[in-house]
Amino acid sequence: MTTARQEVLQRIRAALLTAVLPMPAEPALMAAPVGDTEDLVDVFRREAEAVGAVVHGPVSPSEAAACITRVLRAAGARRLLTWNPAEMGVAGLAEDLEREGFETLDPRLPVDPANRAKALLQLGEAEVGLTGASAGLADTGTLVLRSGPGRPRLACLLPPVHVALLPARLILPSLADFLSGAAQAAMDHANLVLISGPSRTGDIELTLMRGMHGPREVHIILLADSEP
């Protein structure tokens, strides 16, 4: 007896014998974008702001902690849903956060349903989500986040404010640059998410509104590698 799988594949093979699949000629190679002399950081900042994110920095390593603290305070943070500070590329961040009095919620969700539900409800109380980023895409102002140990997916989604720390050297020109090398990263991580500005909807009379489900505010703190 054929399984559904076998049957569907057989049907497809049979169909391909008679399929009419028109295809145009290969178009001329598109002109590669003229080597942008514009600084990637400047492009990133402009595009991220155009989609409603707030961009800070680049800040040097010695200024980073103070900047982060300032942005968190301004966002009204008391409880944080955060990546493991060791994943965010700022030395001493864990200590700074503790010293400044931010409460860091445990992001690990238990597997069993009852405890998971309880944990989720608690995580829902965080005012700010704090994450790093594994890349930025300049021409769309996009953050790339990878899930993994110490990097909860919900940190950039649940709280109404998301603060992301992005090393400036990780900014790529565009989505195409990212995707051309992304196969291994995709396979190695349960979730890659590309975020371009705060959550939005236009579902009521096409009126644009921020903060539908994901954060209504996104702050990106660019991190420089060295002191100026």
Partner: protein, 473 residues
């Protein structure tokens, strides 16, 4: 099928009288059209992109079996599970069984046209599983007990007054016409749902066969939340929605998103590969299980037919926004999950057996859809193909069949053509008022209800030509 044709005309008639609907449609389609046009300006060569995207769709479908097998292997290699569903009933069964075996009481859904197509929500509800749509437009439509009227903006047929009243009635919030207040109420209700749902069900914009990745596009972040918070993720995907590689996405995503909303990228692009990982201490969150349901439901049959090109569709909705017919009647008039130009082909194609064949007639073949399609689908050609199938199945009304046969005879025998024209002139002299008909019988009465019809000229061109040539040889 006469019954469905009559039903269609009745829905159309209702829609044409619905003034708020028509003004909402006008506003929304105009807006979305102009957003798309603005969006395309940020592409150096949109036509080349469309050609490439079309080639990608064609070449992927040409090897669909191979790509599906590779996709399945890759998903499983990362801990996901793959289920094939031959038809809607089987797809529903798979999801219901997953819900039952995992003690699922509540489902949160992000937008999935396939889930509508297979009738999933009613089936889940019948099995006492609560289903809540998370996309704001879908949520509104669900509260109203309706179906979506547009692929991208499901509730755009509703005014904010109507939505305010709906939320007041269903959520108990004070009556308001402020969209921000409405959004806040929906957001608050839906957050509860994310945090307490047992299963998240999503659609898939593109499956990537090299990596087993599900690519999902949203602006609200509802797919990200629906697929990260609950312990189970079930993804529904039509078998044709594959691209071979991650790099291929850089071709289709920019043109999909610009065609749909004019943005360069949606706010959220999720790439999901397998469930929550367990290595190195394990991912802190994410679903413990990922199930991908690959739905055929007529697609393989369409693939083998002359309508295969309709499978290139990447569900951007641009054709709906430019269709002059859709703009007058809206999505519900089509009476099917897929509406607009894409629906007029996809619905009869998927279902066969004359279902939705009246939709092929609801077009002037103006070609606006083909003009905006990011993968250049030749919808007019396929509408004619559907009409020709209907003719072959004897569905053309006798009066039209006879009329066209007579016309063909007249067109093949010039003397008959001239005789018919002479008859036309006689009828015009007899019945027309100053060469215009104001009322005509039978099928032509539809025309004269709203329009005059010019009659035959007293002398045809060939006569005038002969006279002219005599005067100036």
């Amino acid at each position: 099928m006469k019954g469905t044709r009559v039903a269609f005309h009745s829905r159309v008639s209702l829609a044409l009288k619905d003034v708020p609907l028509r003004s909402a449609l006008d506003r929304a389609t105009t807006r979305l059209q102009s957003m798309r046009e603005i969006g395309l300006t940020s592409l150096a060569d949109p036509d080349a992109v469309r050609d490439r995207a079309r080639r990608l769709r064609a070449s992927t479908l040409q090897r669909l079996d191979t790509h599906l097998e590779a996709f399945e292997t890759a998903v499983v290699a990362r801990g996901g599970q793959v289920h094939f569903a031959r038809d809607a009933a089987e797809a529903r069964r798979i999801v219901l069984e997953l819900a039952a075996s995992h003690n699922v009481r509540r489902v949160v859904k992000s937008k999935s046209m396939v889930s509508e197509e297979i009738g999933l929500n009613p089936a889940l509800e019948e099995a006492s599983v609560e289903v809540i749509e998370s996309d704001l437009g879908e949520y509104i439509v669900q509260l109203a007990g309706e179906t979506p009227s547009h692929i991208i903006a499901p509730a755009f047929h509703k005014t904010k007054e109507q939505i305010g009243l709906l939320l007041h009635e269903k959520l108990g919030i004070p009556l308001t016409v402020d969209p921000a207040t409405m959004m806040a109420a929906a957001r608050s209700r839906l957050r509860d749902v994310y945090l307490t749902a047992d299963m998240g069900i999503s659609g898939v914009n593109f499956g990537v066969s090299e990596t087993g990745t599900l690519c999902i596009v949203t602006n609200e972040g509802n797919a990200s939340l629906s697929t990260s918070a609950p312990r189970l993720h079930v993804a529904l995907m039509g078998i044709e929605r594959l691209v071979p590689t991650m790099a291929d996405l850089s071709l289709v995503l920019p043109i999909l998103i610009r065609s749909a909303t004019g943005q360069k990228l949606s706010v959220y692009l999720d790439f999901i590969t397998g469930p929550r990982r367990l290595v190195n201490g394990g991912d802190p969150d994410g679903p413990s299980e990922l199930h991908v349901v690959l739905v055929d439901n007529g697609r393989s049959r369409v693939l083998g037919s002359e309508l295969a090109e309709i499978l290139y569709c990447i569900r951007c909705g641009a054709c709906l926004n430019v269709c002059p017919v859709y703009r007058e009647v809206g999505g519900h008039a089509y009476g099917s999950v897929y509406s607009g130009p894409i629906g007029a082909v996809l619905t009869p194609a998927l279902h066969g057996a004359g279902v939705g064949s009246e939709l092929a007639d609801a077009s002037t073949l103006c070609g606006a859809c083909k003009d905006v399609c990011p993968v250049r689908i030749d919808i007019p050609r396929m509408l004619v193909r559907l009409r020709s199938n209907a003719v072959e199945h004897g569905e053309l009304p006798l009066s039209f069949r006879l009329g066209l046969r007579l016309f063909r005879l007249a067109a093949t025998w010039p003397w008959l053509f001239r005789a018919a024209a002479r008859l036309g002139r006689i009828v015009t002299r007899a019945l027309a008022d100053q060469n215009y008909f104001r009322r005509l019988p039978g099928p032509l009465s539809g025309w004269t209800a709203q329009r005059d019809l010019r009659g035959f000229a007293p002398k045809p061109f060939s006569t005038l030509l002969a006279e002219r040539r005599r005067k100036r040889p």
